[in-house]
């Protein structure tokens, strides 16, 4: 500008265009270095937080490993020996190791423990076909597992005298187990259930439908007869529920609670949504009453009131009282979960089902429930986890579950005052079970919603 006003005789020296030096490229966000920079050191305060965070994590794990492994004692006869060796700086594991059988089986007689193990094995074998891809009768196997396994297991656990009715029921459980194994085997190999496979194998495949149906029933009856004979041969000494305990008792209570709560919750939720005012009122009252009070009050109530509710002279053992309380409590919670799932189903589904001529039960069972249950999986599993954790409360009403057993270690004269180590061990058990369940439910949810993802 200044030049323009000046004399035009000498043109100003041409200005050489000099680009400003390029700004430095922003730090790379690719690769390991870039990721670390973005996620841990993006700014000065962030870097500071990272350093402090890493230091806390390091200090925590250092202390934990030092206590649980580094300074721990693995061989000792009593807590005194541990204390003499390392004091409080290290864990005293021999006490926990010596108590592991009690932590798992409670005071169940040592020579009878195989019965619990056998029941566990049966449960495992019964459940495995549910994960085999070629097995088709998964619904029947699952239902029989929930409904009939308890019949068989109850005799294994309890033993003692079995009358005719109980024998027949135990045999039914065993027969269902045999049927599951055989069906899973034949379906995996030949693609046919055991009954149809037997009919085909015996050379009756070309007979009329009626004959084949009768033969199939005969095969099932034969399985039942085998089961009856096996049950008759099996005679187990009586083990009172008083000595049941440890992880075994925890699994029994939560298993029964889980198996009972889902069907009962479905019934209650349907009742609450029913258009019949009386049924809706009764269901709502039950659900709200049991949900608004703590589980411990329900346990206490059944502990003191159940003997009063039943006819004079009827004895109800402590375990049964706790199980009734846990079942009713978890049914009320499950009912609300199911109701949430039902509410998420659009009205059009109900209307379409009625338009197709389906009645209430058909529409609910074939159209609404399958969709609702799929949505509810995470919440249902969350409830199961809650129930599993809540079974620790039975220790307050005098049952020897896993938690009471872990407290008993520190009251043993040899291991007096040993609390932290058994608590740590038991915490690990609970964590592994609950965390495993929650991760599995996430996985299941993702697989089931595969069709809706884009």
């Amino acid at each position: 500008m200044d030049h323009a006003a000046g004399p035009a005789a000498t043109p100003p020296p041409a200005e050489i265009f000099r680009p400003r030096p390029a700004r430095r490229a922003p730090p790379s966000t690719l690769g390991v270095q870039g990721w670390i920079r973005q996620n841990m050191f993006s700014s000065v305060p962030n870097a500071l937080v990272t350093v402090i965070g890493i230091w806390i994590v390091y200090a925590f794990f250092d202390a934990l490993f030092g206590w649980a492994i580094g300074n721990a004692v693995w061989q000792a006869e009593s807590r005194r020996e541990c204390l003499d060796e390392v004091g409080r700086a290290g864990a005293c594991w021999p006490g926990v190791i010596a108590w592991i059988p009690n932590l798992i089986y409670g005071l169940y007689p040592k020579d009878q423990v195989w019965r619990i193990n056998l029941a566990g094995l049966v449960l495992l074998l019964w459940a495995v076909p549910l994960w085999l891809p070629r097995v088709q009768s998964k619904v029947q196997i699952g239902l029989s597992l929930v409904l009939l396994f308890p019949l068989f297991a109850s005799y294994l656990f309890l033993g003692g005298e079995k009358g005719i009715v109980w024998s027949a029921l135990i045999a039914l459980g065993l027969a269902a187990f045999l049927w599951t194994l055989l069906t899973a085997a034949t379906e995996t190999v030949f693609g046919l259930g055991i009954a149809r496979f037997a009919v085909a194998a015996l050379g009756f495949a070309s007979r009329s439908d009626e004959t084949r149906r009768r033969l199939a029933i005969a095969v099932l009856l034969a399985v039942y007869v085998v089961a009856v004979i096996l049950v008759q041969a099996l005679s187990l000494p009586f083990v009172p529920t008083r000595v049941w305990g440890g992880l075994f008792l925890t699994l029994v209570i939560s298993g029964i609670g889980i198996a009972f709560s889902l069907p009962a919750g479905i019934v209650l939720a349907l009742g609450r949504r029913s258009r019949m005012p009386l049924i809706s009122l009764l269901s709502t009252t039950f659900i709200e009453l049991f949900r608004s009070v703590p589980l411990i009050t329900i346990l206490f109530m059944f502990n003191t009131m159940l003997p009063l509710f039943l006819p004079v002279g009827v004895e109800v053992n402590q375990l049964l009282r706790a199980i009734v309380a846990v079942c009713l409590f978890s049914a009320a919670y499950m009912a609300e979960v199911v109701r949430g799932g039902l509410q998420a189903i659009p009205r059009g589904q109900y209307e379409a089902a009625s338009a197709m001529g389906l009645g209430f039960w058909q529409a609910t069972g074939l159209v609404i429930m399958p969709q609702a249950l799929k949505i509810m999986i995470p919440t249902i599993v969350g409830n199961f986890i809650g129930l599993f954790k809540d079974t620790t409360l039975v220790s307050i009403v005098g049952l020897f579950d896993l938690l009471s057993m872990s407290r008993a270690v520190g009251e043993d004269t040899r291991w007096l005052g040993l609390f932290l180590e058994p608590f740590f061990f038991v915490t690990m058990i609970y964590f592994v079970v609950c965390f495993g369940m929650s991760q599995y439910s996430l996985n299941l949810e993702q697989r089931l919603s595969a069709g809706e993802r884009r």
Partner: protein, 399 residues
């Protein structure tokens, strides 16, 4: 229906069929059936109970409430002496339960907010520390945590003579936590008046700032002036007239401490375990609430030039609260219910002193169970009524 019946040739059989298949008739039938089952069940239970009670010489009346209970209670919020009535025991239990619930709710909300925000941090380390904090603590039973804190930490603390001290005012040992107790001093009234004036000033300023913002669009600072108004006047008054509060310090005499406030170890263990356990659930609520606000809101705020802190405070949080508050309240109810686990470590809450000790002493099972359950029912009914009203008030107003 009437039209069909008049035109169709109807015999007695088809009319019967129509009657049986009629939805209203069926509904009445099913309800009558259910009602009679329920009535029969209750009649059975009640008649058994009456017979059992008469055999054992038990009574169901509430007359025992006026009788002296005759046992001591280790920790009471409201005054209680051995020899007070059962009704008083019930009150003591309710007060203790409410105390635990309120303290645990406050601590767990603060912790939960921190954990929930940490879960969303840009920083990988913080995000994962928060995640595993939540995973580990919410996947282990609360009762186990309470018992572990009590037996694993508080009973293993040193004896009073070797207690852990801080500034010679706070002491921690196996008899609990000792804090200085405030006593009303000479200048208390002046300081109190100053504090009240400060509060009034703070409220007035906040209202003024809000009106300015809503009507004139001018943004006035709020947090700084309000804090100053709350803190400065009482401090000045205290400096002017001398100490408004005297402190009763805990002191070691012989084998134990005298003076100050003693908080029993069972209370400490219960509060710590409850707060930490609940903070995991609250943290997850906070996280899901914030994540439920669409990203477009943040981007729109950035595009309009709203700074990040203000975006969080004025745009994201108000919308997230809509999602966060209902589950948060149900967590508060859970805290109240979970405080009943106090019985496992001998803290005298409602269930412990009333449903356990009083029931065993008096044998009045029915009234005691009914009163305990009644208390919890009233609390949760009141909260859910308030909740429904709140939910209606924050519903998004749609066209």
């Amino acid at each position: 229906m009437a039209l069909l019946e008049s035109t169709a040739p109807s015999s007695a059989g088809t009319r019967l069929l129509a009657f049986v298949n009629n939805a209203t008739v069926r509904a009445v039938f099913y309800q009558a059936l259910t009602l009679s089952c329920v009535v029969l069940l209750f009649w059975y239970l009640i008649s058994n109970t009456i017979e059992n009670m008469s055999q054992r010489g038990m009574s169901a009346g509430f007359d025992f409430l006026g009788v002296s209970a005759g046992f001591g209670i280790g920790f009471t919020l409201i005054p209680y002496r051995e020899g007070d009535t059962y009704l008083r025991v019930f009150m003591v239990g309710i007060a203790n339960t409410m105390l635990v619930a309120v303290v645990a709710i406050v601590i767990s909300t603060v912790l939960g907010l921190i954990v929930g925000l940490a879960r969303l941090s840009n920083n990988w380390v913080i995000r994962n520390v928060a995640r595993w904090y939540i995973e580990i603590l919410r996947n282990t039973p609360l009762l186990l945590q309470i018992i572990a804190w009590y037996f694993g930490v508080f009973t293993l603390l040193p004896r009073p003579r070797e207690s852990l001290g801080w500034l010679d005012a706070v002491f921690l040992n196996n008899r609990g936590l000792y804090l200085p107790a405030p006593l009303v001093g000479s200048g208390f009234a002046v300081a109190l008046v100053a504090l009240l004036l400060g509060i009034a000033g703070a409220v007035a300023w906040a209202r003024y700032a809000r009106r300015e913002r809503e009507q004139a669009g001018r943004i006035r600072p709020v947090l700084g002036p309000v804090l100053a108004l709350l803190v400065v006047p009482p401090v000045l008054a205290a400096l002017a007239v001398g100490s408004p509060l005297a402190w009763d310090m805990p002191q070691l005499r012989g084998f134990n401490f005298v003076g100050g406030i003693n908080i029993p170890p069972s209370f400490c263990a219960l509060i710590i375990a409850l707060s930490i356990y609940t903070s995991c659930f609250i943290g997850e609520n906070v996280r899901s609430g914030i994540q439920s606000v669409s990203r477009g809101q943040t981007e729109a705020a950035r595009a309009l030039g709203v700074p990040p802190g203000r975006t969080m405070r004025s745009i994201i949080l108000p919308q997230a609260l809509r999602v966060i508050i209902p589950p948060l309240i149900s967590q508060y109810l859970n805290v109240t219910k979970n405080s009943s686990l106090a019985i496992a470590i001998g803290f005298p809450d409602l269930v412990s002193v009333w449903m356990h000790t009083s029931l065993n002493q008096s044998g009045r099972a029915i009234p005691i169970v009914a009163m305990t359950m009644g208390f919890y029912c009233v609390v949760s009914l009141a909260v859910s009524l308030a909740m429904n009203r709140y939910n209606r008030s924050i519903l998004i107003k749609e066209r």
